[in-house]
């Protein structure tokens, strides 16, 4: 391979940002999912076991983590939908509009989550 200065300069365009967000959120979600399944599996023992764990969800730190997960899921969905549109429909261009809408949707859903958890 060449001694390259293939730097971030060449990556400063929305399509790359969308890819990075999709990839990072995907990896984080993949790591989270088994933990999620294990927690839900606690209900196999009895409801009390699940309740014991769910008490942790009242901690602020945990609620913020949940909010983070909601954001991760939303942006991964948005970036993924963009890919499906790009690949399955014969459109030209990188659909930059989608990226903006996806980010907006993530923001909106994140806000909705915060409001439902912390709002009166």
């Amino acid at each position: 391979m060449s001694a390259t200065t293939h730097t971030w300069a060449a990556r400063r365009h929305p399509g790359y940002a969308a890819f990075l967000v999709h990839r990072v959120s995907g990896v984080l979600l993949a790591l989270f999912l088994p933990a999620h399944f294990l927690v839900l599996g606690l209900a196999l023992e009895d409801a009390a076991a699940l309740d014991g764990f769910l008490r942790w969800t009242e901690l602020l730190a945990v609620k913020l983590a949940e909010w983070g997960l909601v954001l991760l899921l939303t942006v991964h969905l948005a970036a993924g939908l963009r890919l499906l549109v790009l690949e399955l429909l014969p459109w030209r261009g990188a659909r930059h509009g989608f990226i903006g809408w996806g980010a907006g949707a993530a923001f909106a859903i994140g806000l909705a989550f915060l409001w439902s958890v912390f709002g009166t």
């Binding site: 993949a30 999912l33 969800t57 499906l84 859903i109 989550f113 439902s116």
Partner: protein, 109 residues
């Protein structure tokens, strides 16, 4: 095989999209009054509909995640070839097992 993996990845994504939207909506509704086992289980226990919904969700996610991880690992680490493929098949089975166990946990009476 590459084409099949690609088709499975996009196919599972098409299935996951509406399920994820429904799941997000559910989270927003369920988290309003705080989470409790009683509330969650009251909704899901004994329900064939929820079993189908979450069962499908688990299968689609178990297919989608390892194919994606395989790409990430191939491009960012030296790991590739048969060893990586087998590891990803293992990831599929682990996610499927844990996921279906969780479905049984919340749906079983």
């Amino acid at each position: 095989m590459t084409l099949w993996l690609y088709a499975l990845q996009r196919g599972s994504a098409l299935i996951l999209a509406p399920l994820v939207i429904a799941h997000l909506a559910l989270i927003l509704i369920a988290s309003r009054d705080g989470l409790s086992a009683a509330e969650i289980l009251a909704r899901t226990q004994g329900s064939v509909a929820w079993a189908a919904f979450y069962g499908l969700f688990v299968v689609a996610a178990a297919v989608h995640a390892p194919i994606g991880l395989r790409n990430v690992l191939r491009e960012t680490t030296p790991w590739q070839g048969r060893g990586l493929d087998l590891a990803m098949v293992l990831v599929f089975f682990v996610m499927l097992a844990l996921g279906l166990r969780a479905v049984v946990a919340v749906v079983g009476t």
